[in-house]
């Protein structure tokens, strides 16, 4: 699943490790989510949304609304 996680993290000048620490997950999780290799569970997705104070859909791109060129 695509996400804006890398952008949001960069805006705050956090490393993957910084973000992992704030989310209480491993750096590998952050990396895998950012690269779209891993879909977080809903509880983790909500933790991410709460950390950035954004609705989930502004962080994760709904697969059904993804623009056709991305496919």
């Amino acid at each position: 699943m695509e996400s804006r996680l890398r952008v949001l993290r960069a805006e705050r000048a956090w490393s993957q490790q910084d973000l992992a620490g704030r989310l209480e997950v491993s750096r590998q999780s952050v990396n895998a989510i950012e690269t779209g290799k891993y879909d977080p569970s809903l509880p983790l997705a909500f933790r991410i949304a709460e950390l950035f104070d954004l609705p989930i859909e502004e962080i994760f791109v709904s697969p059904s609304r993804r623009s056709s060129k991305a496919i």
Partner: protein, 368 residues
């Protein structure tokens, strides 16, 4: 009573003898006719004399009291069923050294007295109940690990295709156990750890030294916190808490059937066995010691426990059922944090990458 005993002593004088003559009625057990007899007691036997010159000596061991009217003391003989000697009640004092005390409730109660006997009964009852509570902890360490192996093995087997099989990931998971408990995975009774691709947050110790850890506990947990969770499970295994919980929840009978290969209890029931507070506290203390020796920070574990204890339980229900969390438990881990210590990560970056991908097969993307 003392006087009577003195009179009945074997060293009595002839005069003493005549003093202790007791008039009694004898039924010989053969005819219905009562004979008037005189009874003399010494310390070993009763001597019966009849006016006609007949006499008989009956050893005390042959005599027994017969329940009966309060008006007289009735004796019988063990060897002659119908034989009865009816004595006046006041003969009791003289004969009691010979006959022993009257049996009212049963031999040992009479000997001890009713109240002491009741107290002893209460003590026995309390002990039996107490043993019921404590026995699991006594029995558990004596159950051979090999008996449990099959049970744990078949539970892991029940998960079948859900078992995560990435070889490098498996090595990293074993390395994490070894990191907190060096040598724990080695040997015949070594701990066997398996990751399961099940979307619940949980880790559990199973019979036979198996530990299972579910995917979110790997992919959505700080590796150092996972080290703390695994250390806690290793402690449950080492202290035989699993066996103890099985005995407590299923009973020793079910446990034996289980070991005999009749796995009546399903995997879920065993995965969600609950431990006593004491068990949990012991496992926490052990885990804190293991993290300290391994030079791994206890803070991520404290943070995880704190978060899970506060979080809505839907996601972590499984974990909370088998590991009731409290802020207190989190604080215990937090309190062991040493700000001067130079903690090391539980796994190298390479190992952590491999562990994260343990449920990855090939190039396929993992799906929650």
């Amino acid at each position: 009573m003392r006087r009577a005993r003195r009179r009945a002593s074997p060293t009595h004088s002839t005069l003493g003898r005549s003093d202790s003559l007791i008039e009694a009625k004898l039924y010989d057990g053969v005819t219905a006719h009562p004979y008037n007899v005189q009874v003399i007691a010494d310390s070993k036997a009763l001597e019966l004399r009849q006016a006609g010159g007949w006499n008989d000596r009956i050893d005390a061991s042959l005599l027994k009291r017969i329940d009966g009217g309060a008006a007289a003391l009735r004796l019988g003989r063990i060897d002659k069923p119908g034989w009865r000697l009816i004595l006046p009640l006041d003969a009791e004092a003289q004969l009691s050294p010979l006959l022993g005390r009257e049996e009212r409730y049963g031999r040992w109660i009479d000997r001890a007295g009713l109240l002491p006997a009741l107290a002893a009964g209460a003590l026995v009852t309390t002990s039996v109940v107490a043993i019921g509570y404590l026995a699991p902890a006594w029995i558990a360490p004596h159950v051979p690990m090999s008996w449990e192996r099959n049970v744990g093995g078949s539970i892991v087997g029940d998960y079948g295709n859900l078992r995560c099989r990435n070889a490098e990931g498996q090595r990293a998971l074993e390395a994490l156990v070894e990191r907190v408990a060096p040598g724990a995975t080695k040997g015949a009774n070594g701990i066997k750890i398996a990751a399961l691709d099940v979307p619940v947050f949980n880790a559990a110790a199973l019979p036979g030294g198996y530990i299972v850890v579910f995917k979110p506990a790997i992919t959505e947990t700080d590796t150092d916190a996972l080290a703390g969770v695994l250390a806690h499970e290793v402690a449950h295994v080492r202290r035989r808490h699993v066996t103890e919980a099985l005995i407590r929840e299923l009973g020793i009978g079910a446990l034996i059937r289980l070991f005999a290969g009749n796995i009546g209890a399903n995997a879920e029931q065993i995965v969600s066995l609950s431990y006593t507070r004491t068990n949990e506290a012991e496992a926490d203390s052990d885990a804190i010691q293991m993290l300290k020796r391994a030079n791994i920070s206890p803070k991520p574990t404290a943070d995880l426990f704190l978060r899970l204890s506060k979080e809505a339980p839907e996601f972590s229900a499984e974990f909370l059922n088998s590991h009731p969390l409290s802020i207190k438990r989190a604080q215990k881990f937090a309190a062991s944090f040493d700000s001067r210590a130079r903690y090391q990560p539980a796994l190298s970056r390479y190992q952590a990458d491999a562990l994260f991908e343990i449920c990855w097969t090939g190039a396929k993307k993992p799906v929650m």
